[in-house]
Amino acid sequence: MSKRKAKDAHLPIGECISQVHQILRKRFCHQQLPVKPEGVEAQHKHLAELLKRTAVHGESNSVLIVGPRGAGKTMLLRSVLRELSQETEVQKNLLQVHLNGLLQTDDRIALKEITRQLQLENVVGDKVFGSFAENLTFLLDALKKGDRSSSRPVLFVLDEFDLFAQHKNQTLLYNLFDVSQSAQAPVAVVGLTCRLDVLELLEKRVKSRFSHRQMYLLSKLTFPQYLERIRDQLSLPDDFPDGKFAQEWNAAVTTLCEDKSAEEVLQRHFNSSTDFRSLHTLLMLCLSRVSVARPSITPTDLLDASRFCLADANANMLHGLSILELCLIIAMKHLNDVYEGEPFNLQMVHNEFKKFLQRKSNSMYNFEQPIIMKAFEHLQQLELIRPADGASAKTQREFQLMRLMLDHSQIMEALQKYPQCPTDVKQWATSAFA
């Protein structure tokens, strides 16, 4: 009765919007686990089975989860672990060690982290004692002493697995895989990586100890499924405090997904990428526009968000350049056209610019060399031009060879959008005879 009452309660609109933000932001930004992972049922079942065999029967395993960025590797693993943790036997049995290649940048740090997370006896409070060698032998002894029947199984999760392969001699990987191969304490090694060629990175002795069990998370999403996923991501859960508002919101989301113009926008995003993260970026932008005054997401919001996502950063930067800098870029473009992409230096650019000034009657752009150089250096600072060879201190600044980091169409488009661009500059840019 009380639950029903809570469901029908009417909250003020501000409160509702705030709740919506709270729930959806958690979903988009904090990567809250979904109730049920979609699209990866087979992998989910496989991984759950594997980890359960380690946790319950004490079998040693190793597996690599491979997939592009944002494909849901961590999500898959975490949801499997969440499912496993509900079983009491697993919960009291399994020890977990989480390592990340970004954080544990060498084996010494990784070893300390393992010792710390396993709470072994040379750990006091938060500190780990002993040298690298001592830690390693201690850890290996601890693992060796155990056997299938008596010791608790350990799950090693190696995030950014490819970075672990860059460690010296791959000592950590060798030892982990070695333990998983021989009849010692039961361990499961799960590596997460985005590199498809990850096995090529492993040394031969490490590779031979790896079970070669790999799971690929490659998205086989179709567009209707993509739309479905968006609807899922945007809709509010059933236990939302204000039932009426949730219903209206969900109805609005459904109409949004069926809207023709919205569909067009989403199709464009679908064609560029299908991963969760780019989707979340888009939806987050839509969500940020939701307020009390506009309590639902409209197709125009989606359109604006999409335009925001797809904006060309280089074009934005070109828009803010001064006329002089723009002229220099046009001169560089001409040099590129004439000499077919050969690198240029400041003198050549200045010479080209002077040629343009000579053909023009009024000389409002007659600048001295130092001012040109300042503009040139600003362009270099923005990395719109880049030194052709590394040795920067060796040559004088005006003779340093540079390359232009923009292409023809970007420059022309920027010129079209440039506010109050002088006509002669525009003509100069389009004319072939520079």
């Binding site: 930004c29 544990q104 710390r116 934005n316 803010g320 060796k394």
Partner: protein
Amino acid sequence: MEGLLEHPGYDGEKLRRVSEQLPCREVQAGMLLSLMGEPQQYCYPSLFIYGHRASGKSHVVNVLMKELELPHVTVSCVECVSSALLFEQVLLSFFGCDAASLLPRSPSLSDFVRIYKQRTSEFPSKQTRYIVMEQAELLRDASVNLLPALLRLQELDNVSVILLSEIVWDKFRPNTGCFEPLLLHFPDYSKAELLQILSAGRNPSYSAEFYSSYINILLGVFYTVCRDLRELQHLAALNFSKFCEPVAEGKETETHKLWKNIEPHLKKAMQTVYLREVSRSELSSGFALHVLPYYSKFLLIAAYLASYNPARTDKRFFVKHHGKIKKTNFLKKNEKTSNHLLGPKPFPLDRLLAIFYSVVDSRVAPTASIFSQISSLVTLQLLTLVSHDDQLDSPKYKCAVSLDFISAISRTVNFDIVKYLYDFL
């Protein structure tokens, strides 16, 4: 324009104060605020704000953080020469001294994350914490893992990293990819906006109209070259007294005359003030002109000739009875383009000495002093050593001085260098 900023969860009075401090940046501030959400809600894990210099990136972020009293730390990547300093600063401002003192001597990212995690479990914050990194382009030069790890900090706690940079995100992306931040562009100020912002900093003893007409003139001169607000502010403050001079004699409304008065002055200011140099080149050249010994001057001249003349023309210039060689059919096609455009070419030591003996009048013995003068010219950066491989056997040099400079040098020793330069034949 005011009162444009509205967001639930923040005090209206505070928001009003924020928008007062951010002229012409209401849209960006509003956008940022709506992305940040209410203090206790999650913000997007990382925001990347890019825009030109002085387009108000740090200003907007800092004003928002300060006025709305959000827990934040502002880190300048220029200051943090090692990541240890960065970690210390972050821990210090979020959790106080005792957290920062927990860091070991040379902390790794792992240590930082461990301490951060431990502290957040002790002192959980209801609000989003923000780490603002200024000049984030320098993060690329730090260790490879730092940037991707910072972008994923949200996995720890309700923390959000804001990166500010002049350079577009495409040049940041590591080669195995990373968590993509949300990109936010701060556009440049338009001319009208610059006028509005610059006019706000007027001298109270003059009328607003008078000052904005001054700014108008200033922008008219400098706008084609410079759009940097800070640079323009500096120039405006510097030249205003000159602009006011005729007014002291009493003719405030004659704008045309005022313009006539100030314009040449501003044009001159472009050469001196805008470039921030009181003719630095003159200073150094004057030094070298007086201090360099006689033979060093000739060595430098010989180096210049060796750098800017093709080796095939040496016979023509420096051998007495060379016969007739015409310019046009003598050289290959690529040598015909001006060498002063392409820059100096490297030459071996032998060629330098040969030209040196040819141009200097008296007989000079190749003593140790001559060779030490060559290497001291390299230390003075008038010559540069090109190849590193064999320093003793056959070193190659390049001449690193300008034409003006070398002409001045040759004038002091009565040597007509233009006669010997292939480009000016």
